[in-house]
Subunit: 114 residues, 5 copies
Protein backbone atom coordinates (compact mmCIF):
# COMPACT_ATOMS: atom_id res chain seq x y z
CA UNK A 1 0.00 0.00 0.00
CA UNK A 2 1.03 3.62 -0.26
CA UNK A 3 0.62 6.64 1.95
CA UNK A 4 -1.49 9.45 0.52
CA UNK A 5 -3.57 12.48 1.29
CA UNK A 6 -7.10 13.01 0.01
CA UNK A 7 -7.02 16.19 -2.08
CA UNK A 8 -10.40 16.16 -3.79
CA UNK A 9 -13.16 14.19 -5.45
CA UNK A 10 -14.44 13.25 -8.89
CA UNK A 11 -18.02 13.61 -10.12
CA UNK A 12 -19.14 11.37 -12.95
CA UNK A 13 -22.73 10.90 -14.09
CA UNK A 14 -22.01 8.39 -16.85
CA UNK A 15 -19.99 5.52 -15.48
CA UNK A 16 -19.84 1.77 -15.12
CA UNK A 17 -22.90 0.49 -13.17
CA UNK A 18 -20.52 -1.20 -10.71
CA UNK A 19 -19.40 2.24 -9.55
CA UNK A 20 -22.91 3.58 -8.76
CA UNK A 21 -23.10 5.00 -5.25
CA UNK A 22 -19.38 4.63 -4.62
CA UNK A 23 -17.32 7.66 -3.57
CA UNK A 24 -14.46 8.54 -5.90
CA UNK A 25 -11.68 10.50 -4.21
CA UNK A 26 -8.54 12.12 -5.60
CA UNK A 27 -5.51 10.92 -3.64
CA UNK A 28 -2.02 12.42 -3.74
CA UNK A 29 0.66 9.77 -2.98
CA UNK A 30 3.16 10.84 -0.29
CA UNK A 31 6.72 10.03 0.69
CA UNK A 32 7.51 8.81 4.22
CA UNK A 33 8.31 12.46 5.01
CA UNK A 34 4.81 13.50 3.97
CA UNK A 35 5.78 15.20 0.70
CA UNK A 36 3.73 14.84 -2.48
CA UNK A 37 5.26 12.32 -4.89
CA UNK A 38 3.89 11.25 -8.23
CA UNK A 39 0.58 11.74 -9.96
CA UNK A 40 -2.71 11.88 -8.01
CA UNK A 41 -5.06 9.01 -8.69
CA UNK A 42 -8.77 8.28 -8.37
CA UNK A 43 -9.57 5.83 -5.56
CA UNK A 44 -12.78 4.25 -4.30
CA UNK A 45 -13.39 4.77 -0.61
CA UNK A 46 -14.92 2.32 1.85
CA UNK A 47 -13.68 3.81 5.12
CA UNK A 48 -15.21 7.31 5.00
CA UNK A 49 -12.09 9.36 4.32
CA UNK A 50 -12.39 13.12 3.80
CA UNK A 51 -10.42 15.83 2.02
CA UNK A 52 -7.20 16.67 3.91
CA UNK A 53 -6.91 13.33 5.72
CA UNK A 54 -3.89 11.07 5.48
CA UNK A 55 -4.76 7.60 4.26
CA UNK A 56 -3.15 4.51 2.85
CA UNK A 57 -4.50 2.95 -0.29
CA UNK A 58 -4.19 -0.35 -2.09
CA UNK A 59 -3.69 -0.80 -5.83
CA UNK A 60 -4.93 -3.54 -8.13
CA UNK A 61 -7.90 -5.86 -7.91
CA UNK A 62 -7.63 -5.76 -4.11
CA UNK A 63 -9.20 -2.31 -4.25
CA UNK A 64 -12.56 -3.93 -4.89
CA UNK A 65 -12.38 -6.40 -1.96
CA UNK A 66 -14.25 -4.17 0.52
CA UNK A 67 -17.21 -4.05 -1.86
CA UNK A 68 -17.43 -7.81 -2.31
CA UNK A 69 -19.57 -9.43 -3.74
CA UNK A 70 -20.20 -6.40 -5.97
CA UNK A 71 -17.78 -6.45 -8.91
CA UNK A 72 -16.38 -2.94 -8.77
CA UNK A 73 -14.10 -2.06 -11.71
CA UNK A 74 -11.53 -0.26 -9.54
CA UNK A 75 -7.76 -0.51 -9.28
CA UNK A 76 -7.17 1.84 -6.35
CA UNK A 77 -8.97 1.96 -3.02
CA UNK A 78 -8.53 3.68 0.32
CA UNK A 79 -8.39 0.97 2.99
CA UNK A 80 -7.31 2.93 6.07
CA UNK A 81 -7.17 6.39 7.59
CA UNK A 82 -3.79 7.05 9.18
CA UNK A 83 -3.59 8.20 12.80
CA UNK A 84 0.16 8.65 12.49
CA UNK A 85 3.22 6.93 11.08
CA UNK A 86 6.78 6.60 12.38
CA UNK A 87 9.71 6.61 10.01
CA UNK A 88 13.46 6.43 10.54
CA UNK A 89 15.05 8.99 8.21
CA UNK A 90 18.35 8.68 6.38
CA UNK A 91 19.97 10.50 9.30
CA UNK A 92 18.78 7.82 11.71
CA UNK A 93 16.29 10.09 13.47
CA UNK A 94 12.75 8.82 14.04
CA UNK A 95 9.97 11.09 12.82
CA UNK A 96 6.27 10.80 13.63
CA UNK A 97 3.76 12.28 11.19
CA UNK A 98 0.18 12.64 12.43
CA UNK A 99 -2.88 12.89 10.23
CA UNK A 100 -4.03 15.84 12.36
CA UNK A 101 -1.02 17.73 11.03
CA UNK A 102 -3.12 18.28 7.92
CA UNK A 103 -4.20 21.91 7.88
CA UNK A 104 -7.70 23.00 6.96
CA UNK A 105 -6.40 24.33 3.65
CA UNK A 106 -5.24 20.86 2.68
CA UNK A 107 -1.51 21.44 2.92
CA UNK A 108 0.51 19.34 5.32
CA UNK A 109 2.64 20.47 8.22
CA UNK A 110 6.30 19.47 7.90
CA UNK A 111 6.91 16.55 10.28
CA UNK A 112 8.85 17.29 13.46
CA UNK A 113 11.38 14.96 15.13
CA UNK A 114 9.80 12.75 17.82
CA UNK B 1 -8.05 4.76 -11.45
CA UNK B 2 -6.48 7.67 -13.28
CA UNK B 3 -7.81 10.80 -14.89
CA UNK B 4 -7.35 11.07 -18.64
CA UNK B 5 -8.54 12.66 -21.84
CA UNK B 6 -9.52 10.74 -24.94
CA UNK B 7 -7.18 11.89 -27.71
CA UNK B 8 -7.86 9.41 -30.50
CA UNK B 9 -8.60 5.85 -31.51
CA UNK B 10 -6.86 2.75 -32.83
CA UNK B 11 -7.93 0.70 -35.85
CA UNK B 12 -6.85 -2.93 -36.00
CA UNK B 13 -8.19 -5.51 -38.44
CA UNK B 14 -6.13 -8.42 -37.17
CA UNK B 15 -6.62 -8.81 -33.43
CA UNK B 16 -7.60 -11.21 -30.70
CA UNK B 17 -11.19 -12.46 -31.23
CA UNK B 18 -12.05 -11.25 -27.73
CA UNK B 19 -11.58 -7.67 -28.93
CA UNK B 20 -13.98 -7.90 -31.90
CA UNK B 21 -16.53 -5.10 -31.87
CA UNK B 22 -14.90 -3.33 -28.94
CA UNK B 23 -13.89 0.33 -29.27
CA UNK B 24 -10.19 1.02 -28.72
CA UNK B 25 -9.46 4.58 -27.65
CA UNK B 26 -6.19 6.43 -27.10
CA UNK B 27 -6.17 8.02 -23.66
CA UNK B 28 -3.72 10.63 -22.38
CA UNK B 29 -3.28 10.38 -18.56
CA UNK B 30 -3.70 13.74 -16.76
CA UNK B 31 -2.53 15.33 -13.53
CA UNK B 32 -5.07 16.73 -11.07
CA UNK B 33 -4.45 20.10 -12.74
CA UNK B 34 -5.48 18.69 -16.11
CA UNK B 35 -2.01 18.57 -17.65
CA UNK B 36 -0.82 15.65 -19.78
CA UNK B 37 1.44 13.28 -17.84
CA UNK B 38 3.02 10.10 -19.09
CA UNK B 39 2.50 7.99 -22.19
CA UNK B 40 -0.92 7.64 -23.84
CA UNK B 41 -2.39 4.15 -23.68
CA UNK B 42 -4.97 2.11 -25.55
CA UNK B 43 -8.14 1.51 -23.53
CA UNK B 44 -11.34 -0.39 -24.19
CA UNK B 45 -14.48 1.68 -23.77
CA UNK B 46 -17.82 0.57 -22.35
CA UNK B 47 -19.32 3.95 -21.47
CA UNK B 48 -19.40 5.66 -24.87
CA UNK B 49 -16.58 8.17 -24.41
CA UNK B 50 -15.58 10.42 -27.31
CA UNK B 51 -12.47 12.28 -28.39
CA UNK B 52 -11.86 15.37 -26.24
CA UNK B 53 -13.80 14.10 -23.21
CA UNK B 54 -12.31 13.76 -19.75
CA UNK B 55 -12.59 10.25 -18.36
CA UNK B 56 -11.19 8.04 -15.68
CA UNK B 57 -9.86 4.63 -16.52
CA UNK B 58 -8.96 1.48 -14.68
CA UNK B 59 -5.85 -0.62 -15.22
CA UNK B 60 -5.37 -4.37 -14.94
CA UNK B 61 -7.79 -7.25 -15.28
CA UNK B 62 -10.56 -5.00 -13.94
CA UNK B 63 -10.65 -3.37 -17.38
CA UNK B 64 -12.48 -6.41 -18.71
CA UNK B 65 -15.17 -6.49 -15.99
CA UNK B 66 -17.74 -4.44 -17.94
CA UNK B 67 -17.60 -7.01 -20.76
CA UNK B 68 -18.18 -10.01 -18.52
CA UNK B 69 -18.67 -12.90 -19.30
CA UNK B 70 -16.66 -12.24 -22.48
CA UNK B 71 -12.96 -12.75 -21.79
CA UNK B 72 -11.49 -9.54 -23.16
CA UNK B 73 -7.68 -9.45 -23.19
CA UNK B 74 -7.46 -5.83 -22.00
CA UNK B 75 -5.51 -4.13 -19.24
CA UNK B 76 -6.94 -0.62 -19.50
CA UNK B 77 -10.58 0.42 -19.72
CA UNK B 78 -12.56 3.63 -19.50
CA UNK B 79 -15.13 3.22 -16.72
CA UNK B 80 -16.48 6.75 -16.35
CA UNK B 81 -16.87 10.09 -18.08
CA UNK B 82 -15.96 12.95 -15.77
CA UNK B 83 -18.43 15.80 -15.24
CA UNK B 84 -15.88 17.66 -13.17
CA UNK B 85 -13.35 17.10 -10.42
CA UNK B 86 -12.32 19.20 -7.45
CA UNK B 87 -8.74 19.28 -6.25
CA UNK B 88 -6.99 21.15 -3.47
CA UNK B 89 -3.69 22.46 -4.85
CA UNK B 90 -0.39 22.76 -3.02
CA UNK B 91 -1.33 26.36 -2.21
CA UNK B 92 -4.47 25.20 -0.45
CA UNK B 93 -6.84 26.61 -3.06
CA UNK B 94 -9.62 24.40 -4.40
CA UNK B 95 -9.85 24.08 -8.19
CA UNK B 96 -12.71 22.62 -10.19
CA UNK B 97 -12.01 21.19 -13.63
CA UNK B 98 -15.00 20.46 -15.85
CA UNK B 99 -15.02 18.04 -18.76
CA UNK B 100 -16.78 20.73 -20.80
CA UNK B 101 -13.59 22.77 -20.52
CA UNK B 102 -12.28 20.55 -23.29
CA UNK B 103 -12.17 22.57 -26.48
CA UNK B 104 -13.30 21.23 -29.80
CA UNK B 105 -9.70 21.03 -30.92
CA UNK B 106 -8.95 18.56 -28.16
CA UNK B 107 -6.79 20.81 -26.00
CA UNK B 108 -7.89 21.52 -22.46
CA UNK B 109 -8.66 24.84 -20.87
CA UNK B 110 -6.45 25.66 -17.87
CA UNK B 111 -8.54 25.14 -14.72
CA UNK B 112 -9.71 28.25 -12.89
CA UNK B 113 -9.99 28.66 -9.10
CA UNK B 114 -13.47 27.84 -7.76
CA UNK C 1 -2.88 -1.69 -23.69
CA UNK C 2 0.08 0.08 -25.20
CA UNK C 3 1.21 0.84 -28.72
CA UNK C 4 4.47 -0.78 -29.78
CA UNK C 5 6.59 -1.92 -32.68
CA UNK C 6 8.03 -5.40 -33.02
CA UNK C 7 11.82 -4.99 -33.13
CA UNK C 8 13.05 -8.56 -32.80
CA UNK C 9 12.67 -11.96 -31.21
CA UNK C 10 14.08 -14.08 -28.40
CA UNK C 11 15.37 -17.64 -28.68
CA UNK C 12 15.36 -19.80 -25.56
CA UNK C 13 15.94 -23.54 -25.48
CA UNK C 14 15.54 -23.97 -21.73
CA UNK C 15 12.26 -22.46 -20.61
CA UNK C 16 9.05 -23.13 -18.78
CA UNK C 17 7.08 -25.96 -20.47
CA UNK C 18 4.09 -23.61 -20.75
CA UNK C 19 6.06 -21.51 -23.23
CA UNK C 20 6.92 -24.37 -25.62
CA UNK C 21 5.98 -23.54 -29.22
CA UNK C 22 5.03 -19.96 -28.38
CA UNK C 23 6.65 -17.08 -30.28
CA UNK C 24 8.54 -14.62 -28.11
CA UNK C 25 8.88 -11.18 -29.69
CA UNK C 26 10.78 -8.07 -28.59
CA UNK C 27 8.43 -5.08 -28.55
CA UNK C 28 9.42 -1.43 -28.27
CA UNK C 29 6.66 0.65 -26.61
CA UNK C 30 5.72 3.80 -28.55
CA UNK C 31 4.22 7.19 -27.81
CA UNK C 32 1.09 8.35 -29.65
CA UNK C 33 3.46 10.12 -32.06
CA UNK C 34 5.18 6.83 -32.87
CA UNK C 35 8.42 7.51 -30.98
CA UNK C 36 10.17 4.84 -28.92
CA UNK C 37 9.49 5.25 -25.18
CA UNK C 38 10.73 3.05 -22.38
CA UNK C 39 12.42 -0.34 -22.30
CA UNK C 40 11.60 -3.06 -24.86
CA UNK C 41 9.87 -6.10 -23.42
CA UNK C 42 9.39 -9.74 -24.35
CA UNK C 43 5.82 -10.53 -25.42
CA UNK C 44 4.05 -13.71 -26.47
CA UNK C 45 2.30 -13.46 -29.82
CA UNK C 46 -1.02 -15.00 -30.84
CA UNK C 47 -1.87 -12.82 -33.84
CA UNK C 48 1.09 -13.48 -36.13
CA UNK C 49 2.92 -10.17 -35.82
CA UNK C 50 6.24 -9.67 -37.60
CA UNK C 51 9.31 -7.50 -37.13
CA UNK C 52 8.64 -3.88 -38.10
CA UNK C 53 4.86 -4.03 -37.58
CA UNK C 54 2.97 -1.74 -35.25
CA UNK C 55 0.99 -3.61 -32.62
CA UNK C 56 -0.75 -3.09 -29.34
CA UNK C 57 -0.02 -5.33 -26.44
CA UNK C 58 -1.58 -6.18 -23.11
CA UNK C 59 0.24 -6.53 -19.81
CA UNK C 60 -0.49 -8.80 -16.86
CA UNK C 61 -2.24 -12.13 -16.64
CA UNK C 62 -4.46 -11.11 -19.56
CA UNK C 63 -1.49 -11.84 -21.84
CA UNK C 64 -2.17 -15.55 -21.42
CA UNK C 65 -5.90 -15.36 -22.28
CA UNK C 66 -5.46 -16.14 -26.00
CA UNK C 67 -3.72 -19.41 -25.08
CA UNK C 68 -6.43 -20.60 -22.71
CA UNK C 69 -6.72 -23.28 -21.32
CA UNK C 70 -2.92 -23.61 -21.46
CA UNK C 71 -1.38 -21.89 -18.43
CA UNK C 72 1.22 -19.70 -20.07
CA UNK C 73 3.51 -17.89 -17.60
CA UNK C 74 3.47 -14.59 -19.52
CA UNK C 75 2.84 -11.01 -18.49
CA UNK C 76 2.92 -9.33 -21.90
CA UNK C 77 1.18 -10.37 -25.09
CA UNK C 78 0.51 -8.90 -28.51
CA UNK C 79 -3.27 -8.88 -29.05
CA UNK C 80 -3.62 -6.79 -32.19
CA UNK C 81 -1.79 -5.54 -35.27
CA UNK C 82 -2.45 -1.86 -35.86
CA UNK C 83 -3.73 -0.68 -39.26
CA UNK C 84 -3.46 2.93 -38.15
CA UNK C 85 -4.21 5.15 -35.20
CA UNK C 86 -5.50 8.72 -34.99
CA UNK C 87 -4.29 11.06 -32.27
CA UNK C 88 -5.04 14.68 -31.47
CA UNK C 89 -1.74 16.38 -30.61
CA UNK C 90 -1.15 19.09 -28.02
CA UNK C 91 -1.62 21.65 -30.83
CA UNK C 92 -5.08 20.32 -31.57
CA UNK C 93 -4.15 18.83 -34.95
CA UNK C 94 -5.19 15.26 -35.71
CA UNK C 95 -2.44 12.91 -36.85
CA UNK C 96 -2.87 9.48 -38.42
CA UNK C 97 -0.06 6.94 -38.10
CA UNK C 98 -0.25 3.87 -40.32
CA UNK C 99 1.50 0.58 -39.64
CA UNK C 100 2.66 0.57 -43.26
CA UNK C 101 4.72 3.64 -42.43
CA UNK C 102 7.19 1.18 -40.95
CA UNK C 103 10.15 0.99 -43.29
CA UNK C 104 11.82 -2.24 -44.24
CA UNK C 105 14.77 -1.33 -42.04
CA UNK C 106 12.50 -1.30 -38.99
CA UNK C 107 12.56 2.45 -38.37
CA UNK C 108 9.29 4.35 -38.45
CA UNK C 109 8.31 7.22 -40.70
CA UNK C 110 7.45 10.42 -38.82
CA UNK C 111 3.64 10.79 -38.83
CA UNK C 112 2.19 13.45 -41.10
CA UNK C 113 -0.80 15.67 -40.32
CA UNK C 114 -4.09 14.25 -41.65
CA UNK D 1 10.14 -9.44 -5.15
CA UNK D 2 12.24 -6.49 -4.10
CA UNK D 3 14.86 -5.93 -1.45
CA UNK D 4 13.97 -3.42 1.24
CA UNK D 5 14.63 -2.23 4.75
CA UNK D 6 11.96 -1.73 7.38
CA UNK D 7 12.06 1.95 8.36
CA UNK D 8 8.92 2.38 10.45
CA UNK D 9 5.29 1.54 10.97
CA UNK D 10 1.82 2.93 10.37
CA UNK D 11 -0.95 3.28 12.96
CA UNK D 12 -4.51 3.37 11.71
CA UNK D 13 -7.61 3.04 13.90
CA UNK D 14 -10.15 3.29 11.11
CA UNK D 15 -9.37 0.75 8.41
CA UNK D 16 -10.78 -2.11 6.40
CA UNK D 17 -11.87 -4.97 8.74
CA UNK D 18 -9.61 -7.33 6.76
CA UNK D 19 -6.60 -5.45 8.11
CA UNK D 20 -7.53 -5.76 11.82
CA UNK D 21 -4.66 -7.17 13.87
CA UNK D 22 -2.23 -7.08 10.97
CA UNK D 23 1.08 -5.21 11.32
CA UNK D 24 1.61 -2.42 8.82
CA UNK D 25 5.29 -1.60 8.25
CA UNK D 26 6.97 1.13 6.23
CA UNK D 27 9.51 -0.40 3.85
CA UNK D 28 12.19 1.45 1.90
CA UNK D 29 13.06 -0.37 -1.37
CA UNK D 30 16.81 -0.92 -1.86
CA UNK D 31 19.19 -1.41 -4.77
CA UNK D 32 21.45 -4.49 -4.91
CA UNK D 33 24.11 -2.28 -3.32
CA UNK D 34 21.82 -1.57 -0.37
CA UNK D 35 21.02 2.04 -1.27
CA UNK D 36 17.52 3.51 -0.89
CA UNK D 37 15.67 3.69 -4.20
CA UNK D 38 12.15 4.89 -4.79
CA UNK D 39 9.28 5.71 -2.47
CA UNK D 40 8.70 3.81 0.78
CA UNK D 41 5.54 1.75 0.85
CA UNK D 42 3.24 0.24 3.45
CA UNK D 43 3.49 -3.55 3.66
CA UNK D 44 1.71 -6.18 5.71
CA UNK D 45 4.03 -8.44 7.67
CA UNK D 46 3.64 -12.15 8.33
CA UNK D 47 7.23 -13.04 9.23
CA UNK D 48 7.85 -10.82 12.24
CA UNK D 49 10.17 -8.25 10.70
CA UNK D 50 11.41 -5.31 12.78
CA UNK D 51 12.62 -1.79 12.14
CA UNK D 52 16.16 -1.79 10.68
CA UNK D 53 15.99 -5.31 9.25
CA UNK D 54 16.57 -6.13 5.59
CA UNK D 55 13.65 -7.94 4.02
CA UNK D 56 12.22 -8.82 0.65
CA UNK D 57 8.65 -8.09 -0.14
CA UNK D 58 6.12 -9.12 -2.73
CA UNK D 59 3.73 -6.83 -4.57
CA UNK D 60 0.23 -7.47 -5.83
CA UNK D 61 -2.44 -9.88 -4.69
CA UNK D 62 0.28 -12.33 -3.63
CA UNK D 63 0.84 -10.12 -0.58
CA UNK D 64 -2.32 -11.55 0.95
CA UNK D 65 -1.40 -15.21 0.42
CA UNK D 66 0.17 -15.71 3.87
CA UNK D 67 -3.12 -14.64 5.49
CA UNK D 68 -5.27 -17.04 3.50
CA UNK D 69 -8.23 -17.67 3.82
CA UNK D 70 -8.67 -14.14 5.22
CA UNK D 71 -9.23 -11.69 2.38
CA UNK D 72 -6.69 -9.00 3.21
CA UNK D 73 -6.89 -5.92 0.96
CA UNK D 74 -3.11 -5.57 0.64
CA UNK D 75 -0.81 -5.13 -2.36
CA UNK D 76 2.56 -5.33 -0.60
CA UNK D 77 3.75 -7.88 1.94
CA UNK D 78 7.02 -8.83 3.60
CA UNK D 79 7.62 -12.52 2.88
CA UNK D 80 11.20 -12.98 4.08
CA UNK D 81 13.90 -11.55 6.33
CA UNK D 82 17.24 -11.44 4.54
CA UNK D 83 20.30 -13.05 6.16
CA UNK D 84 22.50 -11.72 3.38
CA UNK D 85 22.59 -11.35 -0.39
CA UNK D 86 25.38 -11.71 -2.92
CA UNK D 87 25.56 -9.49 -5.97
CA UNK D 88 28.03 -9.18 -8.81
CA UNK D 89 28.63 -5.47 -9.43
CA UNK D 90 29.20 -3.72 -12.74
CA UNK D 91 32.96 -4.11 -12.11
CA UNK D 92 32.58 -7.88 -11.87
CA UNK D 93 33.35 -8.02 -8.14
CA UNK D 94 31.04 -10.03 -5.88
CA UNK D 95 29.65 -8.20 -2.86
CA UNK D 96 27.86 -9.71 0.12
CA UNK D 97 25.45 -7.56 2.10
CA UNK D 98 24.32 -8.88 5.49
CA UNK D 99 21.17 -7.83 7.29
CA UNK D 100 23.25 -7.39 10.45
CA UNK D 101 25.04 -4.56 8.67
CA UNK D 102 22.01 -2.49 9.57
CA UNK D 103 23.05 -0.11 12.34
CA UNK D 104 20.91 0.60 15.35
CA UNK D 105 20.11 4.02 13.96
CA UNK D 106 18.51 2.44 10.94
CA UNK D 107 21.12 3.44 8.39
CA UNK D 108 22.92 0.75 6.45
CA UNK D 109 26.61 0.05 6.32
CA UNK D 110 28.10 0.31 2.83
CA UNK D 111 28.69 -3.24 1.55
CA UNK D 112 32.28 -4.46 1.40
CA UNK D 113 33.80 -6.68 -1.31
CA UNK D 114 33.72 -10.40 -0.40
CA UNK E 1 8.37 -10.46 -19.80
CA UNK E 2 11.67 -8.65 -19.51
CA UNK E 3 15.23 -9.50 -20.40
CA UNK E 4 17.64 -9.74 -17.49
CA UNK E 5 20.92 -11.11 -16.24
CA UNK E 6 21.30 -13.10 -13.04
CA UNK E 7 23.70 -11.15 -10.83
CA UNK E 8 23.44 -12.93 -7.49
CA UNK E 9 21.25 -14.64 -4.94
CA UNK E 10 19.44 -13.98 -1.68
CA UNK E 11 19.70 -16.07 1.49
CA UNK E 12 16.80 -15.92 3.93
CA UNK E 13 16.29 -18.26 6.88
CA UNK E 14 13.04 -16.74 8.10
CA UNK E 15 10.54 -16.55 5.26
CA UNK E 16 7.06 -17.51 4.18
CA UNK E 17 6.64 -21.33 4.24
CA UNK E 18 5.58 -21.18 0.57
CA UNK E 19 9.12 -20.13 -0.33
CA UNK E 20 10.88 -23.07 1.40
CA UNK E 21 13.29 -24.85 -0.94
CA UNK E 22 12.84 -22.30 -3.71
CA UNK E 23 15.90 -20.53 -5.18
CA UNK E 24 15.83 -16.75 -4.90
CA UNK E 25 17.99 -15.01 -7.49
CA UNK E 26 18.90 -11.36 -7.98
CA UNK E 27 18.12 -10.31 -11.55
CA UNK E 28 19.26 -7.11 -13.27
CA UNK E 29 16.76 -6.00 -15.97
CA UNK E 30 18.40 -5.25 -19.35
CA UNK E 31 17.65 -3.15 -22.41
CA UNK E 32 17.48 -4.75 -25.87
CA UNK E 33 21.13 -3.69 -26.25
CA UNK E 34 22.07 -5.68 -23.14
CA UNK E 35 22.64 -2.69 -20.85
CA UNK E 36 21.51 -2.66 -17.22
CA UNK E 37 18.30 -0.68 -16.75
CA UNK E 38 16.38 -0.18 -13.54
CA UNK E 39 16.61 -1.76 -10.10
CA UNK E 40 17.54 -5.43 -9.65
CA UNK E 41 14.76 -7.59 -8.27
CA UNK E 42 14.44 -10.90 -6.44
CA UNK E 43 13.00 -13.67 -8.61
CA UNK E 44 12.10 -17.29 -7.98
CA UNK E 45 13.74 -19.72 -10.37
CA UNK E 46 12.23 -22.88 -11.86
CA UNK E 47 14.53 -23.34 -14.86
CA UNK E 48 17.93 -23.69 -13.19
CA UNK E 49 19.45 -20.33 -14.10
CA UNK E 50 22.91 -19.42 -12.81
CA UNK E 51 24.82 -16.22 -12.08
CA UNK E 52 25.94 -14.50 -15.29
CA UNK E 53 23.27 -16.04 -17.53
CA UNK E 54 20.81 -14.03 -19.58
CA UNK E 55 17.21 -14.86 -18.79
CA UNK E 56 13.74 -13.51 -19.26
CA UNK E 57 11.43 -13.21 -16.31
CA UNK E 58 7.74 -12.73 -15.73
CA UNK E 59 6.16 -10.36 -13.21
CA UNK E 60 2.97 -10.72 -11.22
CA UNK E 61 1.04 -13.76 -10.07
CA UNK E 62 2.23 -15.63 -13.18
CA UNK E 63 5.60 -16.01 -11.44
CA UNK E 64 4.10 -18.72 -9.25
CA UNK E 65 2.60 -20.75 -12.13
CA UNK E 66 5.60 -23.11 -12.50
CA UNK E 67 5.23 -24.12 -8.84
CA UNK E 68 1.52 -24.93 -9.11
CA UNK E 69 -0.29 -26.21 -7.03
CA UNK E 70 2.00 -24.79 -4.32
CA UNK E 71 0.90 -21.24 -3.49
CA UNK E 72 4.19 -19.38 -3.76
CA UNK E 73 4.00 -15.72 -2.67
CA UNK E 74 6.16 -14.45 -5.53
CA UNK E 75 5.74 -11.63 -8.05
CA UNK E 76 8.80 -12.25 -10.22
CA UNK E 77 10.01 -15.51 -11.70
CA UNK E 78 12.60 -16.62 -14.23
CA UNK E 79 10.80 -18.61 -16.94
CA UNK E 80 13.50 -18.99 -19.58
CA UNK E 81 17.23 -18.93 -20.19
CA UNK E 82 18.08 -16.95 -23.32
CA UNK E 83 20.22 -18.52 -26.04
CA UNK E 84 20.26 -15.23 -27.95
CA UNK E 85 18.01 -12.42 -29.01
CA UNK E 86 17.81 -10.38 -32.21
CA UNK E 87 16.90 -6.72 -32.12
CA UNK E 88 16.59 -4.06 -34.80
CA UNK E 89 18.23 -0.89 -33.48
CA UNK E 90 17.16 2.70 -34.10
CA UNK E 91 19.61 2.78 -37.03
CA UNK E 92 17.84 -0.15 -38.67
CA UNK E 93 20.70 -2.58 -38.13
CA UNK E 94 19.94 -6.00 -36.66
CA UNK E 95 21.96 -7.03 -33.62
CA UNK E 96 22.21 -10.49 -32.09
CA UNK E 97 23.09 -10.81 -28.41
CA UNK E 98 24.06 -14.27 -27.15
CA UNK E 99 23.89 -15.41 -23.56
CA UNK E 100 27.39 -16.80 -23.95
CA UNK E 101 28.58 -13.23 -24.43
CA UNK E 102 28.35 -12.98 -20.66
CA UNK E 103 31.90 -12.95 -19.30
CA UNK E 104 32.95 -14.97 -16.28
CA UNK E 105 33.16 -11.76 -14.26
CA UNK E 106 29.46 -11.16 -14.80
CA UNK E 107 29.75 -8.18 -17.12
CA UNK E 108 28.27 -8.39 -20.60
CA UNK E 109 30.01 -8.03 -23.90
CA UNK E 110 28.70 -5.19 -26.06
CA UNK E 111 26.56 -6.71 -28.83
CA UNK E 112 28.03 -6.74 -32.34
CA UNK E 113 26.13 -6.17 -35.57
CA UNK E 114 24.95 -9.43 -37.20
Amino acid sequence: MQLGRVIGDVVATRKDPGLEGITLLLVQPLTAAGAAAGRPLVAVDSVGAGVGEHVFFVRGKEASFPFHPTEVPADAGIVGIVDHWNAVGSDGASVTTASTDARSDGTSVPPTPA
